[in-house]
Subunit: 191 residues, 2 copies
Amino acid sequence: MEDKLFRHINQYISLSEEDFRNIIPFFETKKLGKKEILVQAGTSCSHNHFVLEGCLHMFFVNEKGVERTVQFAIENWWMADFLAFQNKNQTEFSIQAVEESHLLCISYEKQEQLLTQFPQLEKYFRIIYQIGYGAALVKMKFLFDLTKEEIYFHFTENFPDFAQRVPQYLIGSFLGLTPEYVSEIRAKKRS
Amino acid sequence: MEDKLFRHINQYISLSEEDFRNIIPFFETKKLGKKEILVQAGTSCSHNHFVLEGCLHMFFVNEKGVERTVQFAIENWWMADFLAFQNKNQTEFSIQAVEESHLLCISYEKQEQLLTQFPQLEKYFRIIYQIGYGAALVKMKFLFDLTKEEIYFHFTENFPDFAQRVPQYLIGSFLGLTPEYVSEIRAKKRS
DNA sequence: CGTCTCGTTGAGAGTTTTCAATGTAAGTGG
DNA sequence: CCACTTACATTGAAAACTCTCAACGAGACG
């Protein structure tokens, strides 16, 4: 199971199996049931998480009580509030399991130790964050360029598997549409 | 002048002056006049850029011919399409000087060499991207949470200096408001 | 069977954009 | 220094988009 991380790391750098065996003890595994909360907004975001199986989403609740998803993570993704993580602030975001999920978790301190002890991993994380950062800018591009309707269909057409894996209202929440409006444009399209 | 990079790096890792002297030759300096184009959308985004002085913005032009800014960079920021940079794709974004600017530029290949030769810099870039990624998610939060009007005033109140440093329509373009609407809400607020 | 979650529908209201016209300040070449 | 041009900002009216609210429907699950 943990092999998934090994294979993922080896997509970007080359790491020996032996090193990997020494790396594994830095992590704990964790299982989450559907809808279980992993990190609560307002607490310190003390861990980084690698998804072995399942799906997480990171969200906040605005003053009107509406939940807004800013990020999903499925298999082979890392999930944390990296800014809070870096600055050791409290996080403004909660993280919750969308499905039953299986994770590797590492605390901030342990990750620091890990990177000190295995500096070749700096490159791995550098690339992970570089990709995440770049992808966030591309998402921003779509958010600005397209109408909500276009955003929705662009997303569902590009990620059809994912779109039917999670509830429709979460997709809406991720893309900034109300559930009612999602319904409306889907109905409009059908006709 | 290049010292700015040295000081910036030393905010995150510790690097000797001697190492820095060996690092500098990897970069070329470049001066840009106001409105000069640094990277053209559709070309390969072959360089990473560190702003010593001035201000850049990264934008794209949508099918209606409207320019949309996705990112600014002022002193001590790195600017590139990191996703294209990583994947060696063509970039969808152009980069242009907002003011007269002074940069350090490094090609993809040279940056690879640099990181191989000075692996302690992996950590520096890891942190840079981690912060950028985290900040992009926080921006996303505001884009979803607030109305355009709130977004605009939230931004100008939090970055008053920057807000008067660049033209108002660029702030609008960065936050996703038309210039007309920016005018309107500013007038509304004055009254 | 009852409850909870998710999706749908429709009307009305609010927000934001578009388009076209005008104003203004600043820069440039003569 | 003036006239001209360009870049940026403003205004108003109409249209388009998206949300809110309230109610209802359907399926899953205990």
